[in-house]
């Protein structure tokens, strides 16, 4: 042990391995002993929740699940929370997937959640599937869902789907919620909202979020779910903790650790500078 060291020098020279140990601890503790943390709810998340909540039973929501497996970790919890909400409220769902590697994953997710709620395909929800060129597809859906999707994901003619009988285009849905890991989000704003005037809300990854706040201010989107935090907020609005809420304790403890490490280092640094300046 280096005995001659002043306390501030010690703060400045903590072996990085101690930080590794602490980091390991703060993620192992919630894994072994789960606990919950309160989440503050922001207006842009509440807006999405309320828009769906305001629908009467039988109302129609278009859920556009436009992410692919690479951004699944952040966006799947949102999709799940919204599906639960819509099925709880007996809404009807039009579901599309405009990302190339998305459809199989969406099918798996929607079937699972619907089964949980005892909801039937084609009666309570319709999964239309994937078509390339999102911009063109969105434009075409504005005229009629049947133009880009003559049949749904499972090959059923859309005309033969009971739920779709009175649903032709965006004027028949209350709003579009697009969960996107890429620029499909922009296309919903440019074509869905700007051309056809359908209200659009977005769920995006944490990194993308900052690019979409301006659209919130300009009213081109009515709500925004930013990353895992947005998902966790949404889940806590549903009072149904899911993946995102379960992930939050880890995030809180680890962020706190890094913040404390930064404070410790800087307290040491300032004290050291003071001491050296005083000694001279």
């Amino acid at each position: 042990m280096r005995d001659g060291m002043a306390w501030y020098d010690r703060l400045l020279n903590i072996d990085r391995r101690w930080i590794y140990v602490l980091m390991a601890l703060v993620v192992i503790v919630p894994a072994v002993r789960p606990f919950t943390v309160p989440v503050g709810i922001s207006g842009e998340v509440r807006a999405v929740h309320e828009a769906i909540e305001a629908q009467p039973a039988g109302g129609v929501i278009h859920l556009a699940i436009d992410y692919d497996p690479s951004t699944l970790a952040e966006l799947q919890p949102m999709a799940e929370a919204i599906l639960h909400q819509c099925f709880d409220k007996d809404l009807r769902l039009v579901i599309t997937a405009l990302s190339q590697f998305g459809p199989a994953m969406v099918d798996e997710l929607v079937t699972r959640v619907a089964t949980e709620h005892g909801k039937q395909r084609d009666v309570h929800y319709a999964f239309l599937g994937y078509k390339p060129y999102p911009a063109i597809t969105i434009l075409a859906m504005g005229s009629d869902y049947r133009v880009p999707f003559p049949t749904d994901y499972y090959g059923t003619a859309v005309d033969a789907i009971p739920m779709m009988q009175d649903i032709h285009n965006f004027s028949d849905v209350a709003c579009v919620v697009s969960l996107a890991g890429g620029n499909v989000a922009d296309m919903w704003i440019q074509y869905g909202n700007a051309k056809y005037g359908v209200p659009v809300a977005l769920g995006v990854t944490g990194v993308m979020a900052s690019d979409y706040y301006p659209y919130l201010q300009s009213g081109q989107i009515f709500g925004l779910l930013p990353g895992v935090k947005g998902a966790a907020e949404y889940e806590s609005l549903r009072e149904r903790p899911g993946q995102a809420s379960r992930g939050m304790p880890y995030q809180v403890t680890s962020h706190l650790l890094i913040i404390i490490a930064m404070i410790v280092a800087n307290v040491g640094y300032i004290a050291q500078r003071r001491a050296h300046a005083g000694g001279r």
Binding site: V27, I28, G206, V207, K229, Q251, H255
Partner: protein, 211 residues
Amino acid sequence: MEANWGTLLWQGGAVFLTLAVFSFLYADNPFYKFAERLWVGVTTGYWTMLLYHQGFRDKVIVPIVYEQKWYYLVPVLLGLLMWFRLSPRLGWVSRYALGFYVGISTGIFIPLAFKTAIFLQVEGTIRPVAGFWPAVNFTLALIGVVCALAYFFFSRPHTGVLGVMSRTGIYTLMIGFGAGFGLTVMGRVALLVQRVIFMRDYFVSLWGSLF
């Protein structure tokens, strides 16, 4: 839970490798070195066959053998020139292939970069401004962009007005870096959590099948 011993064994291997890689955090050690060397070997084997199935077959065998597109012999010939690298005296022959490789890549890059890095950025920055606070923020963002670009002026000394702008610019850049750093923590922690849960679940299921 029903135990599938084969799967449990493979998972045990995965847990061992996970711990071996993590052990590098303490210091380099034989376990890490074992995991690293095994991983490098297995990956190279995987990559080789992947390139064979998806690249060599689709871009060499199919066009030449099945579709008789003889002009695909040209890139193949160039690819073979790369092998002259192995000869100390004739290594320079591979430069012919490198010439095509670099020329094609950079030629494709130039107009595309104009589009994505210049035109799309300029288009994204030109927005109408309405309302007081949006106008303030917008002006600040614009000043930020201009000053940060001033930092990248190379052909003039950073003194006078340019000096002030470039100082402002580097501060703007630093705010961007700080934000980028702070934003990334979340995703990295999520990855670590996945690993921890993977190991927890393994030990739980191991315990369950042993007792």
